[in-house]
Amino acid sequence: MSDDNKRFALEAKGLAKTFPYGEERLKVLVDADMRVVAGRSISIRGESGCGKTTLLNLLARLDFADTGELYWNGESYDPKLPPGPRDAARRACLIGVVYQAYYLIPEMNVLENVLLAARLAGSMGKDAKQRARELLNRVGVTNRERQLPQKLSGGERQRVAIARALLNRPKVILADEPTGNLDERSAGDVMELLLEACREEDAGLVLVTHNPSFAKATDEALNLVKGELSPA
């Protein structure tokens, strides 16, 4: 492992991914490089179906690549191999995820949903509870911790999802269109919160968005066109 790798919360080199398409293979990602520094944000824009979510899945090791290299906090992972138990355990500690559809567990209240991240990472305890409450306070969902997700607005649910993603002090947050289901005002608030929180928590942010103004607000803006990443 080089010293360069250690400097990045997440680094991908030459990631490529194809999908079968009839008798041929469809190139979704071609030689994608990305370096995510702690506390800084990167946005990725592109047309629907251009491979943005696939890129996030490869970065999170939820899918495997055809070629390339991948480092999480300087630790090397072979992105060509299907993810194993080690990946799952490290993912719980190093990567936070935020999705457009929130994915809060309906059988748990707000606090339990946030704490689920600590349970998955095996770090459940008093400290985790305290931090969950602080984060809920930080994202503006104070006094709603006993509520079920169904009782919250879309914006509130996404704030809870952000708090959940931040609970384990991840090195990187991967956010896949986190404002896609929100109205303009809520979307702005949530985006502002996400950027601020990542800075404060010293977590790198990879944001997939269609919104140009949100992309502009990040430290680095990338476009994904025909499978290739390029500066916006």
Partner: protein, 538 residues
């Protein structure tokens, strides 16, 4: 101890925050519980029936029967001594069986007759426990039946006990008594003390006995044979025996004392006298030697609880049967009772029977009760296994329901499963979430099923009463009246019997196992989901 997140999540999916318990959980747990309950109750009741039959059979024939292979035993007293000297033999009772022809006012019956030793016999076969109330049906206004139950001592050479069915066929009955009181014969119109008839001798004659009080503590009695009042008796006095054929009264003072003139009238109905013919009489008739029938009195009615016992039956003394068979000093065999530690263990009993047979000689066979009745218990056991085989699908149906519900849950929660993987959940843990749900449902279902089974066992008599009355009506319909015997069915609780405990544990474990297996398929499907595809699913 930290609860693994998969356990926590599976618990939350079954018992969500805010709702307490999900509809799926309630239905699944009840489904499993019903299955467990039915299986336990069926087997417990079947075991109860077997236990009852076992007790009834042992009561009606002892733990084993020792018989000579080729005929009767002439030296039976020596043989009995040999048997009694066996260390594991507790009691020995000789018997002599045969068939007799009974006649009573033109009614005939050919019962299976057993000659027993009234004293020894009761230690092996509790004839005294079989004796039942047998008063004739007499309509009487303001009269009460005060016939005492007969006792085994009543069995004498000229007195026999008849089974209820044989007595009904013959229209015969033992001695009976009715009590009437005269309310107008004294100033206080009869004290409220109690008069009981302690003993009614089988040789008592029909007639009216009267008891008249002289004051609150003394009375005089007059018998049917002369109108003279006998000597003075005292209430406080215990009268033991006044002679053959004289009823023994016992009077207990009540809160209102007796007074001069208080009068009780006791109507005595003498025991039926039946004519008995034996095969040996027929043999003698062939030689033109016509013998008159032997006349015996009916000393009591008996009911043997074992349904396989002869319905038309007679108990007489050993000597009576020997005389009727023309086989003086002969017995057919011995009913044996072994010490409890041997009797409770079939293998030990079989071994003891073998040893006993060795001590008697080659011509003897000593057959334990479970060998003699093997056909019956094999049948019951087969029925039990068959019932369980029929019941097992009930448990499987519950398991299928669980599997279908969990599979639906996996489909409904596909994106949540993808998220859990994205948050760091391993495939094994994802699978565990659904397997655990099956396990927890099985466990709770088993516990609830145990509770329901305990309630069934606790209230089995009420349950049987309800079933019998609703099937057969108050009087018990044809073929159903016998179920009244099972009101007192002995169905042990798991803490009282190792078999019952094993029964509970087996079916509980079956429910947990099957429910857990039901969770495996959905768990396998969930664990195999591709997280990136799961997160995209609609």
């Amino acid at each position: 101890m930290k609860l693994p997140w998969a356990f926590y999540l599976s618990w939350k999916q079954l018992f969500p925050t805010g709702r307490g318990v999900s509809f799926f959980s309630i239905l699944s747990v009840f489904g499993v519980a019903l299955g467990v309950n039915v299986m336990i109750v069926v087997v417990a009741f079947m075991n109860g029936f077997q236990d009852k039959f076992r007790t009834d059979i042992i009561d009606s024939q002892g733990h084993a029967r020792a018989e000579m292979a080729y005929g009767s035993s002439g030296d039976w007293k020596d043989d009995m001594k040999k048997l009694e000297s066996q260390p594991k033999v507790q009691a020995v009772a000789p018997y002599l069986n045969g068939h007799l022809l009974l006649e009573h006012f033109g009614n005939r019956s050919i019962p299976f007759a057993m000659g027993v030793d009234p004293v020894r016999g009761d230690t092996v076969i509790p004839v005294s426990e079989f004796l039942a109330e047998g008063s004739p049906k007499i309509l009487a206004v303001e009269a009460s039946r005060i016939t005492p139950l007969p006792v085994v001592d009543d069995l004498q050479d000229d007195v026999v006990f008849l089974s209820r069915q044989a007595a009904d066929k013959l229209g015969a009955h033992p001695a009976a008594a009715l009590l009437t009181t005269d309310h107008n014969s004294s100033s206080n119109r009869v004290g409220n003390g109690i008069m009981v008839l302690r003993k009614l001798d089988p040789f008592v004659e029909s007639g009216t006995w009267k008891v008249r009080f002289e004051d609150d503590g003394s009375y005089r009695v007059t018998d049917p044979y002369d109108e003279e009042w006998e000597d003075l008796f005292f209430v406080s006095e215990k009268i033991e025996n006044l002679g053959e054929g004289i009823p023994l009264f016992e009077i207990t003072p009540g809160s209102t004392p007796f007074a001069k003139g208080d009068l009780f009238t006791i109507e005595i109905f003498g025991a039926s006298v039946i004519d008995v013919y034996s095969p040996s009489m027929l043999e003698k008739a062939k030689d033109d030697e016509l013998l008159p029938p032997r006349q015996v009195r009916v000393g009591g009615i008996f009911e043997v609880p074992w349904q396989g016992f002869h319905l038309d039956a007679l108990f007489g003394t050993l000597r009576f049967m020997q005389e009727m068979n023309g086989q003086s000093g002969v017995v057919h065999g011995f009913n044996l009772k072994f010490v409890p530690e041997v009797a409770s263990d079939t293998q030990a009993l079989a071994d003891a029977c073998m040893n006993t047979r060795s001590s008697l000689g080659e011509n003897w066979s000593v057959v334990p009760w479970f060998v003699e009745n093997a056909w019956f218990f094999d049948l019951l056991k087969f029925e039990e296994y068959l019932m369980v085989l029929i019941m097992v699908p009930i448990g499987l149906v519950a398991a299928f329901a669980i599997a279908i519900a969990l599979m639906t849950s996996v489909l409904r929660k596909t994106r949540e499963i993808g998220l859990l993987v994205a948050m760091g959940g391993s495939r094994l843990s994802i699978g565990t979430v659904f397997t655990m749900q099956g396990f927890v449902i099985g466990l709770l279902g088993a516990v609830l099923g145990w509770g329901m089974a305990l309630l069934f066992i606790c209230y089995r008599d009420s349950l049987m009463s309800f079933i019998v009355r609703n099937i057969a009506g108050e009087e018990g319909g044809a073929g159903v009246a016998q179920f009244y015997d099972f009101y007192s069915l002995r169905v042990p609780y798991p803490w009282d019997s190792a078999d019952s405990l094993q029964n509970f544990l087996t079916f509980g474990a079956f429910a947990v196992g099957v429910s857990t297996l039901a969770g495996f398929l959905p768990a396998w499907k969930a664990a195999r989901l591709n997280p990136s595809e799961a997160l995209r699913s609609e």
